[in-house]
Every structure is written in structure tokens, then in C-alpha cells.
């Protein structure tokens, strides 16, 4: 997941993935990237969903919490 996010946000200042329950399917991701600056939260989260489309579609990710920020 970290690799998928890092390739989707090559400019990211922060990419963090936390397995919230230890079960390998409930995740919290944090992405801080200049490319997110100026986008609405809906658009920012859409970018994250797009980056993680494969693990979302195949059920690897059962639950995803997202925290995004533009340039720090």
C-alpha cells in the first residue's frame, strides 16, 4: 500500500500506513503532498482511492480511513 501511494504521490512529504487493528484489513493512511494543495477534501480522497483501487476492489482493504493534506 505504501508503494502504491508513493508512486501515486511521487511528491509526497509524508506517506503513512497504519494497520489499525493488526488484522491486515483495517487501515489508516496519511498522505501529505504538494500535488493535493488546493483540491477539495473529496478530490484529495478520490486520489487516494484511485491509488488504492486494486486492494480496495479485491477486498485486501476492508476499511480505510484517510487523512490528506496539501503542502505543509
Amino acid at each position: 500500500m505504501r508503494n502504491l501511494l508513493q508512486s501515486a504521490f511521487p511528491d509526497a512529504q509524508e506517506v503513512d500506513v497504519v494497520d489499525r487493528t493488526g488484522g491486515g484489513d483495517h487501515f489508516q493512511v496519511v498522505v501529505t503532498a504538494p500535488s493535493l494543495t488546493g483540491l477539495s477534501l473529496v478530490e484529495q480522497h478520490r486520489r487516494v482511492y484511485e491509488a488504492l483501487a486494486a486492494p480496495l476492489a479485491d477486498g485486501t482493504i476492508h476499511e480505510l480511513r484517510i487523512k490528506t493534506k496539501g503542502a505543509a
Binding site: 477534501l41 473529496v42 480522497h45 478520490r46 482511492y49 483501487a53 480496495l56 476499511e63 480505510l64 480511513r65 484517510i66 487523512k67
Partner: protein, 119 residues
């Protein structure tokens, strides 16, 4: 009427719509609960749709909104986001501002939540 038509009718015809797991009376998922509670704290009355009775509801909803997860919150036909965004907007005060801007000053405490059964 297909699910797609019914879903669009709810999205476009409701001040605040939430597509959730369960109903406001019996919430079946922690994230649906987080979004609903934040909306209630902001004073919103919601039109709720339970996506659980038929998996097709969720598929058709995602095809319309382009949003892969549940819950999904719409205000006056526009996607506001899921539980994380609704909570973040509440924390920054923007949730109340958005509701006031789109629904008018008198939006708070306007009646009871409504549940629409699609299946």
C-alpha cells in the same frame, strides 16, 4: 424504477442524504455512525438509505458517485464525502457553514430523520 433512478431521486431530492449501513435507528457500522453523529451534532436532519438489503444498491451508488466506500453523504445533491471528511469538516467548523450556506439559516433541528427503503 431501477436502483440507479431511486438513488438519484434521493440524492437530488434531499437536503442531506446519507447512504449507510443500517438506519439511523439501528446503525450497523462504526463509520456510518461516525458520519451520522457528526451530521446530528451539526444540527442536520437526514434522509437515510440503508445499502445492506441488496449489494446492488451499493454498486449502483458507487457508479453514480465514483466513491468506493460507505457511508456517503450528500448535501443538496453534492457529494460531501465519507465519515473521515464529515468529521474533519465538523472539526474545522466547515460542516455547519456548508449546511447553512446550502440549506439556509433554519436548517438545524428541522424535523426527524427519514429512512427511504430502496429494496
Amino acid at each position: 424504477m431501477s436502483y440507479t433512478e431511486k438513488i438519484k431521486e434521493v440524492i437530488d431530492g434531499s437536503d442531506v442524504a446519507i447512504f449507510m449501513k443500517g438506519t439511523p435507528q439501528f446503525v450497523m457500522c462504526g463509520n456510518s455512525d461516525r458520519a451520522l453523529q457528526a451530521l446530528h451534532r451539526a444540527g442536520a436532519t437526514v434522509t437515510a438509505v440503508d445499502v445492506l438489503p441488496d449489494p446492488q444498491i451499493r454498486q449502483d451508488l458507487t457508479a453514480i458517485s465514483g466513491w468506493p466506500t460507505i457511508p456517503q453523504v450528500f448535501v443538496k445533491g453534492e457529494l460531501v464525502g465519507g465519515a473521515d471528511i464529515v468529521e474533519e469538516l465538523e472539526a474545522s467548523g466547515e460542516l455547519g457553514e456548508t449546511l447553512r450556506a446550502k440549506l439556509g439559516e433554519g436548517f438545524a433541528g428541522a424535523g426527524d430523520d427519514r429512512t427511504v427503503a430502496l429494496a
